[in-house]
Amino acid sequence: MNYVVLDTGDVLIAAALLLINGAISVALALGLGRSLLVAAVRMVVQLALVGLALRWIFGSSSPWLTLGVALIMVGFAGYEAMARQEQRLAGAWGYGVGAMAMGFAGLSVTVLALTALLQPDPWFQPRFAIPILGMVLGNCMTGVAIALNQFLTQAKQNRHAVEAMLALGYPRDQALAPLRRLAARAGMIPIINSMAAAGVVFLPGMMTGQILAGVEPGQAVKYQMVIMFLIAGGTGIGVLLALLGASRRLSDDRHRLRLDRLHS
């Protein structure tokens, strides 16, 4: 591949652009200088560490190492999804519902992509598995967090309507279905929007990266399409599972609405 090699000097020149932002902040008394600096340093340190880790991980071809890294990623995604919810389930469920849903969705979609589409040898090679899982999880996380937050918030706001249905003898699945529909729609909107805008409003990051790395645009586009479909599929599965889990937890076997199981 004929990509241009970047050295540390190039990175420094790019970093100098931040000085302009710093100057603006000082001139207009925005008070952003400090957080700008902290964020930039974090970005550099985090990415450098990830680079080192990836170099080490890609060097091995152990399925166990790949699985371990994948599980750590799912763990972080679960935490992030929970942290983004204003309303969440109490106790371990607050973390577990999102993490389980994303874990299942992300891993199954990634395994499908590796075994049926990309087919590297061996299929669990971390150089393929980790980036794909990362892209699917990153988007799935947004969808799941939005959907869960919407579902739980709506359940609290519309508790009287839900209980009115329950009081008339509707089963819990039917009483919660309207809320689940709303929440699923909210969770799917980001990926629908980004599919609709891809190539017109923005060039997807992965495609841009591949083109910069010297991949022929036609191939880069096909890769991007596959990734978009994987993301959409993974998000759909994740949102659905998370909502099914959350509606189980928010009701009980006597078909009651259990808002006492919300984190207060």
């Binding site: 519309n158 009287h160 309507a161 839900v162 209980e163 009115a164 249905m165 329950l166 009081a167 008339l168 003898g169 509707y170 089963p171 309207p178 009980d252 076997d253 006597r254 078909h255 009651r256 609405l257």
Partner: protein, 222 residues
């Protein structure tokens, strides 16, 4: 049934025959509710009185199994623990003081086979059958209350648990709803009503319960 009646001790209806008990409450309690044992016969009324916030609503919700509670409630001698919750609530229907809506129009809150019955009930309640097509966000308090009641009655439950059913009604509407209650009682429906003023139901009541702050429900003399 005789076994069940014995277990309630002296708490059986004074005037109703024990073997006619439709709904029987035994040992019902949770954190904010402690209820004495009582039963309500088919076609009779039990009233629940007490200061606001004492736990009248808690009692009705616990009977409808909308809140987790220990103890047992029987319908025609069958314990609710052995009955699926949706089925239980179709027979023992709780009507909230301010009914909430899940659809856009009144009609959305009835199943198609209930449309005719609902139209007749709306007419009886002084709203007219055309109320079926009213949007719910324009209903007044009194309309909300009456339609909320009709929503439950149209499903033909055996027992109605009514929370302040006539508090927001004018004189004429209240009389119409009371006539509806009398008709339901005549059909054998049992009614437990929680309110500050029970109106006509007060005169019909065979069982009178009082709720003290903290959710302590006791039988009131009379």
């Amino acid at each position: 049934m005789p076994g069940l009646e014995r277990a309630t001790g002296g708490a059986v209806l004074a005037r109703g025959a024990p073997d006619m008990s439709l709904l029987e409450v035994r040992g019902l309690h949770h954190q904010r509710l402690r209820c004495c044992d009582f039963s309500v016969a088919a076609g009779t009324v039990a009233t629940v009185t007490g200061p606001s916030g004492a736990g009248k609503t808690q009692l009705l919700r616990a009977i409808a199994d909308l809140d987790p509670a220990a103890g047992e409630v029987f319908l025609n001698g069958a314990g609710r623990a052995g009955i699926a919750a949706p089925h239980w609530r179709r027979q023992v229907s709780y009507v909230a003081a301010t009914p909430a809506w899940w659809g856009a129009s009144v009609r959305d809150h009835f199943e198609p086979d209930q449309f005719d019955g609902a139209a007749r009930l709306l007419d009886d309640a002084g709203l007219g059958a055309e109320a079926l097509d009213w949007p719910v966000d324009r209903l007044s308090t009194g309309e909300t209350q009456r339609i909320g009641l009709i929503r439950a009655v149209a499903r033909s439950p055996q027992a109605l648990l009514l929370d302040e059913p006539t508090s927001g009604l004018d004189e004429d509407s209240r009389k119409r709803i009371e006539r509806l209650f009398e008709r339901l009682l005549g059909d054998g429906v049992a009614i437990i009503v929680a309110a500050h003023h029970h109106g006509r139901l007060e005169e019909l009541a065979l069982t009178r319960l009082g709720v003290a702050p903290g959710g302590v429900v006791t039988r009131v003399a009379g």
